[in-house]
Subunit: 321 residues, 2 copies
C-alpha cells in the first residue's frame, strides 16, 4: 500500500485537481454510482475532542474507504498542532486490502473549497463580479482562492464577527489582484456570490442582506444546531446541496426544514446539475443557495487523486501490509 | 506513527497477551471506562463484499481508533487471498493524530478466541475437563488452543456440519496432547465447556444437547439472522456477553429476546464478572452462556499490545505522517 504524509500533500495537489475530483464524485453521487456511509461522530470525553469516521464507496471511480479524525480544540494552544486532525484511508474495492493512507488536513480544506467552487461554476450568474465573504478564518482563504477561479471576479467584500481578522483576508485578495472592502452585513447586497464560512450557532446573514440573482454557498454548517443564514433565505432561494440527507439533518437546511419552510423535495443535489438532469439556475433574478455539509466521498476523491500523483512523482512511500 | 504489517503479527502476539488485553478491555467496558462506537457495516454492491468500521475509545488504556475492513467472499477462489480482510488504525487520543496501522487478520482470530477463553476462565466450572466443539473451520483451531489454556482439559469432542473437516481439528487436539472424538449432537451432553463457532442461520445445538453445569461460549453469531443454539437454551442459562447492545441485536441473544424468553436485563457483561461486580457462576449445576459478538475495542486492545511489542523488538516501521 501507499503512504502519503501530510507534509507532502501541498506539492501534490492543485486546486484544479481538487475541483475535478469533487465535481466528478458529486456527479457520481447524483447518478447513484457512489454513496456515503452513515457518519460516526463521537464526543469521546477526552480533551473535549470530537472524533469519527466518514466513509463511502464510489463504484464509478473505484474508491472505497474513510476519513478518520476530528476536532481537538486544545491542540493549538497546548501543542502547536492544528485542531482539525484527519487521515484518509483508501481500500482496494476488489479485495478489501488497505491501498493507501493519506494525510487529510490540507485535503479537507481543499475539498471544502472545491465543493463551494463547483457550486459557483454551475450556479452563479455568468456575469457575477463581486464576491462577498462572511467569515475570515483559516478556511476563508481557501474558499476565496478557489472561488475566483470559477468567475470573472472584480472585487471582494467581506464581513467577519471579529473585524481584526479581515486585513489578512484582504492580503489574500490583493495577492489575487482584487480590490478588497470590509462591509456591514447590509453591504452584502452588492455581492453576486456570497460564501459563508463561519462556525456560527445563530443566523448572521439575513434574507434582506441578499440581492436577487445572488449565488450563496453556505459552507460552515456541518453539525446539528449550527446556522449561518436566516431560514427564510432558503425558502426564497433554489436550494442545492452535496447530499440531501446531510443537508436536512446537519446542514444549513436543517432549520428551514424544522420550521416547515421547505421540504426535502425542494433540495436538489449539485451532482444533478453537473449531470444535466437538473436545469440549475433558470433566471438572472433567481437566488441559488448551495448547502455544503462535506461528505466522505469528497475526501476519498481528492485523496485518490493525490495518491496517483504521489506515485507518478515517486514521493509515495510503499509498505507491504 | 508506527506500522506493523500483517506478516509480522504472528511473531509479535501470544495467546497470553491477547487474553490479557481482551480481559482488561472487557473490564474497562463494564466499568464504563471504555466504549464502542456505532458499527458501520455496508454491503457495497461490489464483489458481494461487506465492508465497515468498528471503532471505540478506551479511556483507561488510552486506546482510540477503529478496525476497518470486512468480508470479500471471492478472495480465496479468485485471488488466493483470505476472505476476511481487516486493518486496525490507532489514533493518539491527546491529539487526534494517527498513531499506528496494524494488520488485523490474524488479530481478529486471536481476539475472538481470547474473548471465548476469558469467558471460560471466569465462568466454567473449576473441574471442567471435556471441551465440546461445534464447528471445525479456520477459527475453531484458534478457539481450541485458547480454551485449553484456561482449564484442565482431558478430552475434546467435536461436531461439524461437514464431518470431513473434523480430522484436521483432531490434529490440533493431538498437538495439544488431548484425545479427540467426533460425536453426534446428542453426545455433547458429555462436555463441560462447549464452544460454538459456525456461520449458521438456524440453531444447531438444542437445549437437550447441553448438560447441567456446562459453560457455553457462542462465538459464531455476529449478524442479524445468524443463530447457533436454540433460544430456549438462553432462557435456561445465565447469559453473559461482551456488549449487551450487540448481543441483543446481532448476537445469539437476538432470538431469545425476539421470542420474549429473556430481556436485556437478564444479560450481564463478562466485564462485570471480571471486575467482581457480578458473582458469575453460582452453582455447579448452573448453565452459563457467553454470547461473544466481537467489539471494536477488542481489536484495538490487541493491536495496541502488538504495537508495543513491535516497537520493543524493533520491527515496527516508523513513518512521519
Amino acid at each position: 500500500m501507499w503512504i502519503v504524509p501530510e507534509a507532502a500533500i501541498a506539492d501534490l495537489v492543485s486546486r484544479e485537481a481538487s475541483f475535478d475530483a469533487v465535481e466528478k464524485v458529486f456527479a457520481a453521487m447524483a447518478a447513484r454510482d457512489a454513496y456515503n456511509f452513515p457518519v460516526v461522530r463521537e464526543a469521546i470525553g477526552h480533551e473535549d475532542a470530537l472524533y469519527g469516521f466518514k466513509g463511502g464507496f464510489d463504484r464509478a471511480g473505484g474508491t472505497l474507504g474513510l476519513k478518520a479524525g476530528g476536532y481537538w480544540p486544545h491542540n493549538l494552544e497546548k501543542r502547536g498542532l492544528i485542531n482539525h486532525q484527519s487521515t484518509v484511508f483508501l481500500f482496494d474495492p476488489d479485495t478489501g486490502k488497505p491501498a493507501a493512507m493519506v494525510g487529510g488536513n490540507l485535503l479537507t480544506a481543499l475539498r471544502t473549497a472545491a465543493a463551494s467552487a463547483v457550486s459557483i461554476r454551475h450556479l452563479a450568474r455568468p456575469d457575477a463580479k463581486v464576491i462577498g465573504m462572511i467569515g475570515a478564518g483559516h478556511q476563508s482563504h481557501f474558499q476565496l482562492r478557489a472561488a475566483v477561479e470559477q468567475m470573472q471576479a472584480e472585487k471582494v467584500i467581506a464581513w467577519n464577527m471579529h473585524p481584526d481578522m479581515l486585513p489578512k483576508l484582504g492580503e489574500t485578495a490583493a495577492e489575487l489582484g482584487l480590490p478588497f472592502e470590509a462591509v456591514d452585513l447590509d453591504g452584502m447586497t452588492e455581492a453576486d456570490v456570497i460564501i459563508t464560512i463561519t462556525s456560527s450557532f445563530a443566523p448572521t446573514l439575513m434574507a434582506d442582506h441578499v440581492a436577487p440573482g445572488t449565488h450563496l454557498t453556505c459552507m460552515g454548517t456541518d453539525t446539528k444546531g449550527k446556522q449561518e443564514v436566516e431560514a427564510a433565505l432558503l425558502a426564497r432561494a433554489t436550494v442545492f446541496c452535496d447530499e440531501v440527507a446531510q443537508s436536512t439533518s446537519i446542514g444549513e437546511a436543517q432549520h428551514a426544514i424544522a420550521e416547515g419552510l421547505i421540504s426535502d423535495s425542494d433540495i436538489a443535489e449539485i451532482g444533478a446539475v453537473i449531470n444535466g438532469t437538473h436545469p440549475g439556475r433558470q433566471s438572472a433574478d433567481e437566488i441559488t443557495l448551495f448547502d455544503g455539509t462535506g461528505v466522505g466521498l469528497q475526501d476519498l476523491a481528492v485523496a485518490a487523486a493525490v495518491v496517483e500523483t504521489a506515485i507518478e512523482k515517486g514521493v509515495a512511500i510503499e509498505v507491504e501490509m
